[in-house]
């Protein structure tokens, strides 16, 4: 909820810059007794890894995560769990040219205005590399949720530029293509689109959906710790996120009440426009969240910008960038969903036993 700490009672605090010595996080409040090892964490890190395919950044970090504390004889002890990844493939020389420039669409300018000083290398703290630690922390949450509540979380690419892929045709196919696309028939189209995009030097936005199944009813602490408000905060805190929807989201605007309200029968709800949350509390239905990611602004196509002295300059961004950052966002939204649900399950049992 504050500064660099996320969560109420299951809390994540991350640190590290893109080109500093290391990135890491502290997970605070994890229940004791959860079996975990570094290899399990690495599996999910590979899902978001740079250098995975030609469609994402060519930075090739090993993401060799170490568990520094809070785990003893393979199990969590209840004390803070520190995770660390050393940065090994940081090529800071790529950034010499933007040392004194503010790249439009980036946090360069705003960090400068906030702090008067910044680590300009690779975006410093504002780099998407920070999300590595969200994914790492999310692994513990996902595992605990699965073991204790059978909760399953799955994200997928719902749209990439003009190509809509929001309807899930085949759940199993999501992990079998580099786009987390749930429709095998669209994969070739996506590949062609991305190849052309990369050649053009431009980038594009994306929309990523995530579903959580078997979420117990009753999670959420109204009014200012609502489950959906915390999910909105979680997703909007991801780099490049510009919009968040729960359930029907913006489609609700044109809906009638008779259409939107999810009627209930003894067999269950007849629809799920609510996205699993009513009055800020989970209803037992699937929790469904959609997040919009903007196109990255790190382009080799020149644009107008300013330098730190206020001069107008032409900005060209070199370095190794994703033409669609949304592709790799899938494991990140899953992680944020897991962190929020985990936090709320623990918070719920604080008050409700």
């Amino acid at each position: 909820m504050s500064h660099n700490i996320f969560g109420h009672v299951f809390r994540i605090s991350t640190f590290g810059e893109s080109h500093g010595p290391a990135i890491g996080c502290i997970i605070d409040g994890c229940p004791p007794g959860l079996e975990i090892d570094a290899d399990e964490i690495r599996l999910d890190l590979q899902r978001r890894a740079t250098g995975k395919t030609r469609h994402t950044s060519q930075r090739r970090e090993k993401d060799d995560v170490q568990i520094l504390s809070g785990v003893f004889e393979g199990k969590t002890t209840g004390t803070p769990i520190a995770l660390l990844i050393e940065n090994t493939d940081a090529r800071s020389r790529d950034y010499e040219n933007i040392k004194r420039q503010f790249r439009p669409g980036h946090a360069d300018y705003t960090y400068w205005k906030k702090y008067g000083f910044r680590d300009y290398r690779g975006g410093g703290r504002s780099s998407a590399r920070e999300t590595t630690m969200r994914v790492a922390a999310g692994v513990l949450a996902k595992k605990w949720l699965k073991l204790n509540h059978s909760i399953e979380i799955q994200g997928w690419l719902a749209q990439l530029g003009p190509i809509r892929t929001d309807e899930v045709m085949d759940w199993d196919s999501i992990e079998r293509n580099p786009f987390f696309c749930p429709d095998p028939a669209k994969v070739t189209e996506l590949e062609k689109y991305m190849d052309a995009l990369r050649k053009s030097g431009d980038s594009v936005g994306a929309r990523v959906n995530v579903i959580a199944r078997h979420v117990p009813a009753g999670l959420g602490a109204p009014i200012y710790g609502k489950l959906d408000a915390d999910l909105a905060s979680a997703m909007m805190s991801i780099n490049a996120a510009k919009g968040v929807e729960i359930g029907a989201g913006f489609d609700s605007v044109a809906q009638k009440g008779t259409e939107h309200r999810d009627e209930m029968t003894q067999r269950g709800f007849l629809s799920n426009h609510a996205g699993g949350v009513l009055g800020g509390i989970s209803s037992g239905q699937d929790v469904i969240v959609s997040t919009a990611f903007k196109p990255t602004s790190s382009l080799r196509i020149p644009c107008q910008g300013l330098d730190i002295d206020g001069n107008e300059v032409e900005i060209v961004t070199k370095g190794r960038h994703d033409p669609c950052v949304g592709i790799r966002a899938t494991p990140i939204v899953e992680a944020m969903m897991a962190l929020v649900l985990m936090d709320h399950i623990l918070l719920h049992r604080a008050q409700n036993g």
Copy 2:
């Protein structure tokens, strides 16, 4: 860091149920020396008041706010400011029939699942009546922001069901019609639509935009206290909210990077797709947020539901309800914008002097 507390260093804690003795809030962390009186607060309360026009609920609360603490000789003292409004027009008998029923689309079921017990009268704690206190607290924030930073905040109805009104044709017109519609030419269309809707017994969703001007660059505490993440949380915490966008929002998905990135010149930014936030920190541009509100589910048109014993029942909601809750959301999104900005200005100066 939440439950019923919102904010980091300028914090709001609200209490009260729709049909309880009173609703109220504590504002904690308000700078000393701000001149304020109850009448100023009442002005904004009237903007969101029920019973304002035939298009909103006919519950007629006087909303006679009292300042119980933290203000001495007309000025804030720096200590907690408590505001209180007694509930006077609560007609609990309207709710006898739903005492044992879960209204679909409402928080009845989820509160029941969470707490095993609920104040069913008028939605209890989940009633939109709680937002009265957000508006009241927002008055102090808006005033302080205006006096100290010339920040101006204005909300408007951007869409009501099928009618789009997102383009502001006339800023002054917003306050001159009961819809907060920024296009005088559309008011008649809105009135006709609402009259027909009310007759039909149905409800409809809405989208409300809000702009904050003259926001200084540098606000936002990355990574987990990002300005946009806190705005997303703030807006999603409002009753009936289902989606939040910053700047281009979901339109970013189909945008190219060359289109989305807001180029900078010495005359300023050439566009504002970012909505005034880059990397979670304000850029000095206008901060623009859009929120989707679902149609209320309180309808006299029957639907299928369950009662607390699990029996299937036909639900008909009587009582006095807004056919479009989004109409009255305009002062609420303004208030939430003000509370977030106020909090972040104070938080910024904590760290940055």
Copy 3:
């Protein structure tokens, strides 16, 4: 994570000034289903009430507490519980003479330095009247702890000026005298001492002990949410508190390890120098805390002070003051003990189920 909020997941936020319209609090995170009514709260308020005997202040507040929210049909609902007491016996004219003066030993000067502005009437926010709400909130915590964990909390006067009463001779006698003295043989001595003190116009300090029995082992969230650290914060936050001890406290300084360490057998611990807390976590032994209260500085005996213009002035404090504020502190330290234990039980079950 504070300002005017106390606790992690069971949280109290208070408001109100000594001579303002009312004082009150919000209790956030209380489990649902606890039966409570205003009369139960009033009982404990009477224990700390002003005007109880000739030994305490003659301000006679009815302390007619109202429950404004969070309780429905006599039971807590899980939503924020607001309590309110209107101030009725505030005689602000008593304070006209100190309007522009800083009473030594009071918060007058420091509030002025902090906020540049203050409600001078009766100490404003710094008045011990605020503790009324701690006692009120503590009633709910004490009741819940008793019902759910058989926890019993009892405070007593351990020393008043030179008179030591720390050894409990008769638990039942504590409530039968106006001093909360646990030794009936000392009551007359205390009365004589206080009568002489009152005549002299001076005041004196006191030490108050509190014990909590049947506290389950395992409470406390190391490192920075340790049970003893939270107890220290709780007690030191009470008006006039200057010192806090857990168990052997300052006596530990001269102890040897062989003396201090509480050996364990199958029949239990052989001593309790730890005061029930080891490594910040409860051990299952009685939790014992001792708090030092300074003598009030509100005296009719003149002293040197300054006014707000920096002039030297002779200060004489009229008004109705307790010659020993520690006497009435007993219900307050009990309440703070209850609030901390309640918070930690809920926090414990968040992480540990």
Copy 4:
């Protein structure tokens, strides 16, 4: 304020066990632009280092602190600062014998009761090794306070077992002896006492005082973020702490109001019984805190205890332990003072500009 995070807006989160791979911390909210390097941090770490003299534990850690983030080109950037120290001299074999035993006076039993599982090596998370990171974080706070407010913080040994050294005879002498003793005449007595104690196999308690000079008036956020309450929490959270006093502390109990109240003249206060805090807010006087530390229970002298199966066992603690943990507490209480003051200065300027 919660779990493993300390502070409101300048916040410390630590991790690590005594015999795990590493210990570390995240410092969140540090103002940008502070020059800092690892060597400065190491200087203070040496002050608390084990192996310093024959009077403290013979564990010889290099405490080779690394700065992993938040510092760029030698200056803080405003983003989270991570510090890391690898554990190199951990001899876990020393602890094999207590793997299944609960050492009396230790956190072994309580961690077991809380988490049902523990890292038993060297006390795991409850080891005083954690305080290394407090000292490390404190270095940044102390430096910033000195540079920006001329605040100076100095701790000293005030009592060791029966030997009182609370009166400061020579400020400069404190750093010139291994006891942080402010009276050169007492050093030989302390050495003899400690030599005899070590031979006896026993341990002893200590009292440590700390003063902060040039603290501006106005720090402290009443009611539940009072400066003295936060100091009490800070000191009580240190391993082995059992009591905390501000100013006159427990001596206040026997004081009269005419004695205790610190009269004010144009030349300043005439005394400082308050210890620099009135009503929870700093007065501009020196802030003075005294902390009691119990004798360590890690003794080679056998005692009665239990094992994890509930059997009675004779406990003998080998390993390398301090016969008086209070000696090394001096840099720790200084660090905690610095962290609290830093936090409150930033918090103050949030609300008060």
